[in-house]
Amino acid sequence: MATPALSVCRKRRNAAVSAPMASYKSRLAADLDRWVAGGLVPPENRAAILATVPDPRRLDSSATLALLGTVLLGLSVVAFVAANWNGIPRIARFGLLIGLLVAAGAGGALAARQARPHATNALLSFAALVFAASIGLTGQIFDLAGDPRTALYTASVGAVLLGLAGRSAGAVLLSVVLFVAGDVVGADAKTIPLSLPAGAIAVWLSPRWSARSLAHAGAIATIVGLAHGLSWIEGADPRQLLMLALAATSGGLAVAAQRITSPPQRGILVGWMVVGAMFFFIMTGLFGADGPDRIVHRLAWLCGGAGLIVAGRSLGHAVMTGTGVVGLLIAVGTILMDLGLDLLTASALFGLGALLVLAVGWWLRRRAKAVP
């Protein structure tokens, strides 16, 4: 016989299992019951309100098994082809790749015709992946010499073409990733970073397609593209100056991103640009800075970290706050290492920083009180 304690445990476990699975409609039903009980909503409106919300789509058992069977069949085909790859004539192998690309594209077109945007996005993303893989495999099939960077850029162009043609955020995302990979592969060459325009396109499309992933990808691509500029500069001092400029640029972009009207994209871009600015600023003086330059850098680092925490709390931006916290922690550790664990000097420096921060905080509080 179940004890009361065991019953409670079971109820809690069932609730924990079912809570994540509860759809919006079921949560709305629970809320409506509370509102009706509290007299906020007339009981006769409960059914009408629930009727305006469509039932969540669920896969029944047969559909689930069909999906599983399809995935297993796909894996089986892939494994069979891979096992016999070298035995298949070259032209047949190439034909398989072309066939797969065309099939994926046709599937995407069919899904678009049936107004199924998620299926369209998935199929076009798959088509972009197949095209990227086909470039490499074509080189392998026909023993063609090629430049890895050119192959990556070509795959990127194909992916962005599919993405723009079919409004597929997945294909555009893949394109940005491939452009970044191409820039990374060519990091030692003085080439124009294509991740910058790719990132800009992704950022521009993100609010229009309601695709947050594009905002993330675009922001990261922008940081990588800015960092690529280091390949153009030689010498420690010029590189330090450039990193300082990149930190300022990232900070400027973070400020500019505040003007973006769409809140999710704004938050994402501001967050990444702040992270980029902190990263570049840290790299400016982490290695090679000596004497007064190092002291200035460390002080600015402490103040910058504190400033980010304040700004992040003020704007309600968790990533900004977190970047400030992490930046401060790394700054403290770096200063301790700089001073060779000279605790007395570290104590003086942190005390000075604390006085400065407290003074600013006191001044801000006084100013806030002075405002009627």
Binding site: I98, L101, G105, L124, F131, T138, D143, G166, R167
Partner: protein, 190 residues
Amino acid sequence: MMASLPLRIMLATALLAGGLCGFVFYESVQRDRGTEVQIRVQGVDPRELLTGHSVLIRFVEQRPETLVCFPGDPVHDEPAWLALKIRDGVAVPAGMAGTRESALEQGPLVVRGRFDCAPTALGDGSEEVVVDLGIKRFHAPQKEAEALEDLLRNNGAATDVRALVSIGRDGRARLKGLLIDGERLSLDWW
């Protein structure tokens, strides 16, 4: 008038598929119509082909006395043009330059690539020339690997392995096959 979404998708897909097919056709034409030369290959163990995997190859020659290594060309570390000349039926490096025209002044054949000089394993101060044509490996399917096995059974251990390279009008090298002790192994596409 903007095309409908399905039509745009099919056009983009057709463009990509057509682009791939066109690229293979272009490479095929350049390969077939290019100038065929033989280049000595090092590091090929023909028995590796029997596994059907890719085989790493290096083009290595003993450095001719007339060949200047590290000529001080500012494009030494940049993509360059390699001048070749034929010696005893084998193409050997004759020089390197930044432009095709400059390379043609050093040898009758030019190909996109570069060479580097390195001391030999003998340690006697001699140098060898390692040629980079962009071809670093090739893949032999099962049929061709079996044909090579027949060759080995008939000819014993291979001592002279040469790559058959086609130099297209665009100056790029494309691998056509191998010459193993005079026996031709073609890497056919069709």
